[in-house]
Amino acid sequence: MLVTWAYRVRKSLMGSFDPRARWIFSFAFLISATQFWDARFLVVLFVLAFLWYFSARVPFKETRRAWTFVWFLLLIMIVVNTILTGGGAGGVVPEGGHVVWPNGIPIPLTAWHFHFGLTYERLWFALCQILRIGGISAVFVIIPFSMDPRSYGVTFRGLGFPDKFAYSMELAFRYVPTIARDFGVTVDAQRARGYEVEGSGGGIFKQILRTAPLIVPVTMNSILTGEDVANAMDLRCFGRGPRTWLYKLEYHWQDYLLIAFSILLLLASLAIVYGLKLGDFWVPEFLIRMIS
C-alpha cells in the first residue's frame, strides 16, 4: 500500500504566506462566518473564501473528491433538513412565513393535493446555508492541498503549542509511510495463508472480525517498534530541555498583513453582530413583495 499526500509543491500566492499566518486566517474566517445568517454578509465572506481558495492555484481535478464530499454534505443539510423536514432553521428562521404552495401540490390524475409546508423563507435560508458552508469548506478543503505535511510540527510549535505535542506531530507524519508499508506486508502475509481481503459476505459483525488478522499484527508490531523508538529518543536527550527546531519559520511583511487582516475580520464580525446587532437571518424585501 502506498500513501501519498494530497500536497504538491507549487508556486502560488497562498504558498507565499507563512503556514502559521494561514492557520490564523482560516480560524478567524471560521469564527467570523459562523456569526452570520445574513446573506449580505455571507456573500462577502463567500467571495473572500473563494479568492483565498483560488490563490492556492490547485487544479479542480485534484480537489474533486473533496468537493463531491462537501456537496454530498450540503445536499443532506439543505434538501433533507431545510427543504423536506423543515427543521433546518435551527431556531433561526422565524415561525410562519410565506408558503410556496399554499393550496398544496396537485397530484396528477387524482383529485388529491399534497400539502407541503415549504416557505420562501426556508428556501432563502437554504441559500444562506450554501453560502456559509460553501465558504467555510473552501477555506478548509484547500489546506491539505496547499500545506506541506512535514511543516505541521514546526508550525504548531510556532503557534505556541508545547515542544512535545509538536514533536508528536512530526513523528506521526514520519511513521505514516512506514506503517502503510507494514500494512501492505501484513495483507500479503495473510493472503499467503489463504485469507481473502474481499470478504465472502457475512454479517456486519463477521466483516469487522475479519479485519482482526490485519489490524492486530500491524498495531502490535507498531507498539513494539515504539519501545525502540522511545529508547532512541531518550538516548538522544529528547525532552530534557527546550528544543531547537532546525527549520525556522519566519514572518515576512505579507504575513503580518494577513494576520492583521484576519484580526480585523474577526473584530469586525464580532462588532457587527454584538455591537450593531446585525447579521441575523434576513429575508430581502423584494422577495416578500414579489411573493405577495
Binding site: M169, T211, I215
Partner: protein, 182 residues
C-alpha cells in the same frame, strides 16, 4: 505502572501518540470498506478502535492525540480537507476511553474488558456528541437533523467497531506486555 499519572506526557507518550495517530490514519484509509451513505461525515471504519485502545493502554492524552491527529492525517491523505470539530470528536473518543488507563491489572481479565466496553460507549457518545453538536453551530442544522443525520449513524458505526475490536486488541496487547515483563 499502577502509580503512573493519568496525564503524564513523557517520551513514551510522545511516541505512542504519534504511532497511534499514524496507525489510525493508515488503517482508517485502508479498512474504510463500508461507507454508510446516509450520514454526512460518517463512515464505517474499524480503525476507530485504535484511538480508544491507545487511550486505554497508554492514557487519555495519547488517546486524544491518536484520535485527533489521526483523523487530521487521514483527511490530509484523502484530501477531504480539515474539519476541526470532527477531529476533536475523534480525539475525545480516545481521551474518554483513556480515563480508565492504569486503573486495572491485566488487560484481559473479564473485569477489565467489561470496564473497557463501558468506556468505549462513553467515549463514543461524548466524542460523537460534541462533533455532531458542532454541526449545529457551523451548518445551522437543527437538533433533529444533528441527532438522526450525524450523531446516531456516527455513534452506531463507531460503537459496533469499538465494542468488537477494542477487546481483541487488549487481549493481544496483554501478551505483548507479559513478554516484555514491564
Amino acid at each position: 505502572m499502577q502509580n503512573k499519572s493519568l496525564w503524564k506526557f513523557g517520551t513514551r507518550e510522545v511516541v505512542y501518540s504519534a504511532i497511534g495517530a499514524a496507525l489510525y490514519a493508515v488503517l482508517g484509509i485502508a479498512t474504510n470498506f463500508l461507507q454508510l451513505p446516509s450520514a454526512g461525515n460518517v463512515s464505517f471504519r474499524p480503525a476507530v478502535a485504535i484511538p480508544m485502545f491507545f487511550g486505554i493502554a497508554f492514557g487519555p492524552v495519547v488517546g486524544f492525540i491518536a484520535g485527533f491527529l489521526g483523523n487530521i492525517i487521514a483527511d490530509l491523505v484523502s484530501g477531504y480537507g480539515f474539519w476541526v470539530w470532527w477531529d476533536l470528536g475523534n480525539g475525545l473518543m480516545g481521551l474518554v476511553a483513556g480515563l480508565m488507563a492504569f486503573s486495572f491489572v491485566g488487560f484481559k481479565t473479564q473485569g477489565t474488558l467489561l470496564k473497557a466496553e463501558l468506556f468505549v460507549i462513553l467515549g463514543v457518545v461524548v466524542g460523537m456528541g460534541v462533533a455532531s453538536l458542532s454541526e449545529m453551530w457551523v451548518s445551522g442544522a437543527d437538533i433533529n437533523t444533528v441527532i438522526f443525520g450525524n450523531f446516531i449513524p456516527a455513534a452506531v458505526a463507531n460503537l459496533v467497531n469499538g465494542l468488537i475490536l477494542v477487546p481483541i486488541l487488549m487481549i493481544a496487547y496483554d501478551a505483548v506486555v507479559s513478554r516484555s515483563g514491564k
